[in-house]
Symmetry: C2
Subunit: 135 residues, 2 copies
């Protein structure tokens, strides 16, 4: 990718006052919404350059590559930009089949029922205690 084009793209993005844009991550095959995370300029550039999803962790205050610890990386198939240039949609191939750190395929594994409770709608794909080292 041309550096000048990438520079134009980054200038077009409307990062918020914290320097972030939300990124919706969707499975490129069946359209399942896997997670929502945040990108700063560096995370966006790394994602475009490497073809692997990178985000900015608001809690750890640093860049991270999705799957860097679990191995469940996200291979980028397509990146779309919204009408206001303040949100991106990333279509990915989810390596390992699960994106959520809790072991579910999607972070959206609970639905709100008609009586206002939360109901589990997915099954765990991996055991987080076995995948993430306890530090």
């Amino acid at each position: 990718m041309k550096k000048t084009n990438l520079g134009k793209l980054v200038k077009m993005l409307k990062f918020d006052e914290k320097g972030l844009v939300p990124a919706v991550v969707q499975d490129y095959k069946d359209g399942k919404v896997l997670m929502v995370a945040y990108m700063n300029e560096e995370a966006f550039l790394e994602t475009v350059k490497t073809g692997k999803a990178h985000f900015y962790s608001r809690s750890r205050k640093k860049l991270w590559m999705k799957g860097e610890e679990s191995g469940n990386i996200q291979i980028v198939k397509e990146i779309l930009l919204d009408c206001d240039n303040d949100c991106v949609l990333i279509k990915v191939e989810q390596v390992g089949g699960a994106s959520c750190h809790t072991g579910y395929r999607s972070c959206f594994f609970r639905k709100i029922t008609k009586d206002g409770k939360l109901k589990l709608v997915e099954r765990k794909i991996f055991d987080p205690e076995k995948v993430y080292s306890r530090k």
Copy 2:
């Protein structure tokens, strides 16, 4: 829906320092991601109570029902909550077939090409000049 359950749900939601959570809106049938908007507590409650998607406009600083002007309302089929309780996913039936104020079905109507440019990937469904009154 029971008021007590709804109250518990609202308490569980982690609104940010502006009192907002991002809401991803997805077509309930084919999984197309239509838009991302923000909800405050009131917008969340109105969405659950009325079954029609409501958001908080950060630019206009007020509650709005999606489609209140265009008629393109969103009928809520399912609401899911993410693992961190700080993002919601709303599956909807998009009345009128288009969610974006620019006239496209989805707000994500441009993809980033391999050479770093933006490419239109949808066709306009309506003409915004005919749908929205000029104020």
